[in-house]
Symmetry: C2
Subunit: 203 residues, 2 copies
């Protein structure tokens, strides 16, 4: 597909670098933008550009933020003695959307993965241990590990637990089991197995 | 979903304005961009910005172009006496991809649609008639109407034919029928009906 304009071709190439966007979709997007008012397109480019220049991370939990502290870390309404450890910013939002958690977060920025070359030093583990040790922003009672239920997540959970336990903090991990509304026959055997092993008293 | 950063929220909003992109996908894109090298994100924003500022249209066929004439209009290899009329730039590429057409194009920029408020004056019809009348860039022998096979496309075809015929040019329209590789039972009755009415001698 030879495009008749270099400007268009470059925009298509740029858009096609987005996840889940192929060249055909990128072309559709670019042609859509051509029909939009130029100042709106410029504004869009500007907000993408700001992702490269203006983004800040919370100095406490490493979530994206406007200022030094993110809205969650700076909110007095949040329970200060509980830290939920997640892999990335998306997971903060996923947990927030459940409306079941009122504590603070800590974004690791990944999970330990020798295959992808992600080691302990690549993750925000030092600052987590520091928060627990120094009691920042308040003495920590519980750390909830909410990492992916994958091999890498399990490995990271194991390592974090080993580091956190000696600091005298309660360490818990999110429950793994059959999703709500699922028939048992559709659950894979490992998930079903875990849900049996981790059964809880019927209230 | 409350985002912890205004910069991120604005980027998500901008990306969600793209066709086929919802807020969830836009968030995935924005978080992907956060992980990319900043100069790459800046380059992407730049190419989108250029869509607003740097795009040119061919003075002859109204296709997007780098200079005054698009690569097709300025190519000596193209058949100069045939013009294929299409709705938009995407359709130029669609016809080009068939590798069955070696003539020139004329991009209308839409089709007549009273419902969407698109009238004759909103389309590049005047310049088309001018090209045929004045023989630009060469005396025109045939105009091929390759507009959408919709009510609006049909209306536009009808109007263009009425305007073009008196100029002594051959006017043809692309064939409408059963797509290649389709079972007849899957074709809708109007398409199948047209393919019977427009049957051609078996060679």
């Amino acid at each position: 597909m030879d495009l008749p304009s270099t400007t268009l071709a470059q925009a298509v190439e740029a858009l096609a670098s987005l996840p889940g966007v192929g060249r055909r979709t990128a072309l559709r997007m670019a042609l859509h933008l051509l029909k939009e008012p130029p100042d709106e397109v410029a504004r869009m480019a500007e907000s993408i550009h700001r992702l490269a220049t203006d983004i800040h991370y919370c100095s406490l939990c490493h979530c994206v933020s406007d200022g030094d502290l993110c809205p969650i870390c700076s909110s007095p309404k949040r329970v200060q003695n509980t830290i939920c450890v997640v892999e990335n910013v998306k997971d903060v939002m996923a947990v927030e959307n459940t409306q079941q958690y009122r504590g603070l977060y800590h974004v690791l920025g990944g999970v330990i993965s020798p295959i992808e070359g992600v080691g302990i030093r690549d993750l925000n583990i030092g600052t987590l241990l520091n928060r627990v040790q120094q009691g920042i922003p308040a003495p920590v009672e519980e750390v909830i590990l909410a990492l992916p239920t994958t091999m890498e997540g399990d490995t990271t959970n194991y390592y974090l637990n080993k580091q956190l336990k000696p600091l005298g903090v309660k360490v818990s991990v999110i429950a793994c089991g059959v999703p709500l509304g699922d028939n048992l026959e559709y659950a894979d055997e490992i998930t079903l197995g875990r849900s049996i092993v981790n059964r809880i008293p019927f209230v």
